[in-house]
């Protein structure tokens, strides 16, 4: 059971919403679409579901071409970011509705709905209207409705984005368990790199309607195919700077340089360094100090985020502990250059140390 996109593209009024995309999505794991808002995650899901017709390419499910097939015939489930329930029906009827449409026997419906409500911890709410529930319970109802039928394809479009922190953690922990028992293709859209990493599976990084990278989630994080993929998969944003390799040195500017690995050819490169590899304190012998002006320092208790300008670029540092700085203060931050991506002028990844993403 696989969902295969073959060169699927979507153009609307001359605007390209999805560039021709090839993807093979397997069952039994999370297939994550990672990208910022307007990257095309929802459009891609609508194409997968059959809610929108692709303007080019074909969609195959289980070896069958389903490109023009109506969504009603496809056996799909979908959960949206907004809590979408039928406001005129009780929670029970909401969950039961796909089964009713499929003309399942009343006794079976009751059994299934109660089972699913138990799993989603909304058993006590079955007689209420969706509008009488909290946001988390509304989203649980929507998820119960999506999971109550044995769909072949489950599409989760940022299902946790509108929930408060605690509920989000809770549902995120439960989700892999709920999904694991099913033989279906699960697609999960999110804007948060950390969520993608927590859920594992495979990740497709989306940028402006284009899948820029696809593979096992941790691999995409540690070895992004290109600069765009690295940008998509970094929050706070990855630090980017231009460097030149000449001889045995990587040169950022006349003051800052560090030894190069022999694998790189001489020339211009763009480096990408994740914010947690830039720290106000020296952590490795090989760290390189860069001096700049603090722009903003945000302390969240366990972490400090420092925005600063150095040599014409903006940098972000994310470090453990409390490191207070004043705005406008001159300081030196330490860059762990052993955890640095090197991209060629075209943006392709040419070199990364093995641990670039992991630490």
């Amino acid at each position: 059971m696989t969902l295969e996109l073959k060169h699927v593209g979507k153009t609307l009024d001359g605007d390209v919403h999805i560039h021709p995309t090839d993807l093979v999505l397997e069952p039994g794991r999370f297939n994550i679409l990672l990208g910022t808002t307007l990257a095309g995650k929802t459009t891609l899901m609508q194409l997968m579901a059959g809610l929108e017709k692709p303007t080019s390419g074909e969609i195959w499910f289980n070896g069958r071409n389903v490109t023009g097939e109506r969504v009603q015939k496809r056996n799909v489930s979908m959960v949206y970011q907004q809590f979408i329930n039928y406001p005129n029906m009780s929670v029970f009827e909401n969950i039961a509705s796909p089964l009713r449409v499929a003309r399942m026997a009343e006794a079976d419906i009751r059994k299934r709905v109660e089972e699913m409500a138990g799993l989603m911890k909304i058993s006590a709410m079955l007689d209420r209207r969706p509008s009488e529930l909290s946001g988390g319970q509304q989203q649980r109802t929507a998820m119960a409705r999506a999971l109550v039928k044995d769909s072949d394809l489950i599409l989760l479009d940022e299902p946790l984005a509108n929930l408060d922190f605690k509920l989000r953690e809770e549902l995120r922990d439960e989700m892999p368990r709920i999904i694991a028992e099913r033989n279906c293709v699960v697609v999960y859209a999110t804007t948060e790199p950390s969520e993608a990493l927590l859920l594992g599976g495979h990740t497709a990084a989306l940028y402006e309607g284009r899948v820029v990278d696809y593979g096992p989630t941790s691999e995409i994080y540690c070895q992004p195919a290109d600069l765009t993929s690295a940008k998509v998969f970094s929050e706070p944003p990855i630090n980017i700077a231009g460097v030149r390799k000449s001889g045995d040195q990587i040169v950022l500017n006349e003051n800052v340089s560090w030894p190069a690995s022999s694998a790189l050819a001489d020339g211009e490169y763009t480096i990408g360094i994740r914010p947690h590899h830039v720290s106000p304190v020296r952590t490795h012998e090989s760290d390189v100090g860069i001096t700049g002006t603090v722009h903003v320092a945000e302390l969240s208790g366990s972490e400090s985020m420092i925005h600063f300008d150095a040599y014409g670029d903006s940098w972000v540092s994310l470090s453990h502990g409390v490191h207070p700085f004043d705005t406008g203060e001159e300081t030196t931050l330490f860059v762990d250059v052993s955890n640095c991506f090197y991209f060629d002028p075209a943006g392709r990844l040419v070199s990364s140390s093995d641990s670039a993403g992991v630490n």
């Binding site: 009603q72 979408i84 039928y86 406001p87 929507a142 409705r145």
Partner: protein, 266 residues
């Protein structure tokens, strides 16, 4: 300040209710009393006026006729406006915004402008002096209004609701009738209210397009005024009865009317 806080509302309510009170009080007076002396309340309380209205067919049929064409009009307007409003709220098509705006052209001129063409057209096709004639004429004004109101309410429902239903296996019509219409029930109520009210109070077209068989109550009232002198008590009773259907309808949609005036966009 505090002690006088009852004053303004009281003046306001008196101001508001005075014409209605005068009408109601007149309806319980005899015509002689109305013309003879200034009385704040009926001196010789009588139900004679109401008795006449409920027993004389030329009176009560006026109400029956009005109610028939108002109901035909309301049902027709809402039934036609529902799919139209859905199309405007959910689909993009060539010229949709212009069409949506120009829907209102029929409301840009007074109804009198359309009286003559309607009269001539309906006479030609043979539906002059029928309930349908008035109902159809009123849809010209009510359908655009209903489309505007319903479109506002429908646009307040996220498109994802439609998509969720399709994903669940609902066909379009099953979704539309079982889920969408109940979801915007308040909007339908408000649209129906505006159609009802327009059709109920509109006099000119209703009078022009009917003669005997479908004569509305408002036309009946204007005629009786000059038959055998003035029958002011009777007129007041008829007027009082005319307020009642409107009052009942307003009562049911009172919580949504503000939203209706804002065409559903509050």
């Amino acid at each position: 300040m505090k002690r006088a806080s009852w004053l303004i509302p009281t003046i306001y309510i008196i101001f508001l209710m005075l014409p209605i009170y005068w009408l109601v009080s007149m309806s319980f007076k005899t015509t002689n009393e109305i013309l003879g002396a200034f009385t704040l309340w009926p001196q010789n309380f009588t139900l004679e006026n109401y008795y006449v209205i409920f027993t004389d067919p030329s009176w009560y049929m006026g109400y029956v006729n009005s109610i028939i064409y108002v109901i035909i009009n309301t049902v027709l307007s809402v039934a036609v406006a529902l799919p139209a409003a859905y199309a405007f709220s959910r689909y993009r098509f060539l010229g949709d915004k212009h069409l949506f705006f120009w829907l209102l052209t029929n409301r840009m001129a007074p109804a009198a402008v359309f009286a003559l063409p309607f009269f001539q057209l309906y006479s030609a096709v043979g539906i002059f002096d029928t309930h349908l004639a008035v109902a159809l004429a009123h849809t010209l004004f009510n359908i655009p209004l209903a489309v505007w109101i319903l479109e506002g309410f429908m646009s307040g429902v996220p498109k994802q609701l439609d998509e969720t239903a399709y994903v669940d296996g609902y066909s379009f019509w099953r979704f539309f009738i079982r889920i969408f219409i109940p979801t915007i029930a308040a909007g339908i109520g408000v649209a129906a209210f505006f159609c009802f009210m327009f059709s109920w109070v509109e006099l000119l077209l209703a009078k022009t397009l009917t003669a005997v068989a479908a004569k509305p109550i408002a036309a009946a009232m204007t005629k009786t005024a000059s038959s055998s002198g003035y029958e002011l008590g009777l007129l007041a009773a008829a007027g009082t009865l005319t307020i009642i259907p409107g009052a009942i309808v307003i009562y049911f949609v009172r919580n949504y009317i503000a939203k209706g005036f804002a065409l559903g966009r509050v």
